[in-house]
Symmetry: C2
Subunit: 184 residues, 2 copies
């Protein structure tokens, strides 16, 4: 039997640009009170974008929280009031210079529901067009790289791809679109 | 060309039980300064545990940050100084009452590297033994459920499983162990 947790109080510790932090006091099913530390996030999108060579487009960037350069699918945070599909189009353009001509939602998930409210929506596109200019976020520095699906799977297995949304995107691309992504 | 971000200062906003929050000032490659909001997390594990009926063991629990009841693989946070494999054994026992007789590390990933340092290690076990008692965390209330691999895949596709580590676990179980998990 699952019970919800009744909220007694909410206290904001921090309101930031990317996250807010609050600590809620809740009542448990045994009537004990406890605290829950909650990182509020407005949500994000990721895009599995396939080019005309049937390669996946990835971005390489330094991630300060983990102090490593990671290889990830293009992704970004929802702006206020923005629909996930609009965000996917904007982020793909900003990060790679490609505009998607189709976008299919393939999965939605919580990245770390034990402490964070972040929900991530993944999209798939296999029709992209290079636009004349990229409108990169001035605080983002990244490289665009392209790899085949089988190479992506090998990099996942050997620990060279370590980002959750990218792993989910590659595994779903293999499962749902693998037959379309074989290269001659 | 990727550049790392040089840290100018670190300021702790909050130190909690599950997360710490700090804001770093960094220098970008263009010499501009910017702030990075960083949620520190000690890391976690998840366990894909297969019972004698070739079913996956899942736990259902209320998750306050997303205000929903989620279906997830057994999982938990590393205690101070704890090795991931020890944590996997402890969490499986606490949450389900089963002790793993084997544990194989299958993948490591960052759950949300844009703002969080959390690294999650996934383990696989197909030999479990019911122990006489569960030693559940007094602040955790959960139900144990078991489902076949194909049902898990259907629940993922229909949006009934929405937790990132659980999605990765199910997709990797299908890819690496699918042939062993077919039921007669």
């Amino acid at each position: 039997m699952i019970y919800c947790e009744k909220t007694v109080s909410k206290a904001y510790i921090y309101k930031g640009k990317v996250v807010n932090l609050r600590v809620d006091e809740v009542v448990l099913p045994n009537n004990k009170h406890t605290k829950r530390e909650i990182v509020e996030h407005t949500g994000a999108v990721g895009i599995i974008a396939i080019n005309e060579k049937k390669e996946i487009i990835l971005v390489k960037q330094y991630r300060k929280p983990v102090e490593e350069i990671l290889l990830e699918i293009p992704a970004g945070k929802l702006e206020k009031g923005e629909e996930p599909i609009e965000c996917a189009k904007r982020e793909l353009e900003e990060e790679t210079g490609f505009t998607p001509l189709n976008l299919k939602k393939i999965v939605e998930f919580y990245t770390s529901p034990g402490f964070s409210s972040e929900k991530l929506t993944l999209f798939y596109t296999d029709r992209i067009k290079r636009t004349t200019q990229t409108k990169s976020d001035p605080d983002e520095f990244l490289d665009v790289v392209t790899i085949g699906l089988n190479q992506a799977l090998k990099m996942l297995e050997s620990g060279k791809i370590t980002d959750a949304k990218t792993i989910i995107g590659i595994l779903i691309a293999k499962k749902q679109y693998g037959h379309l992504l074989e290269r001659g």
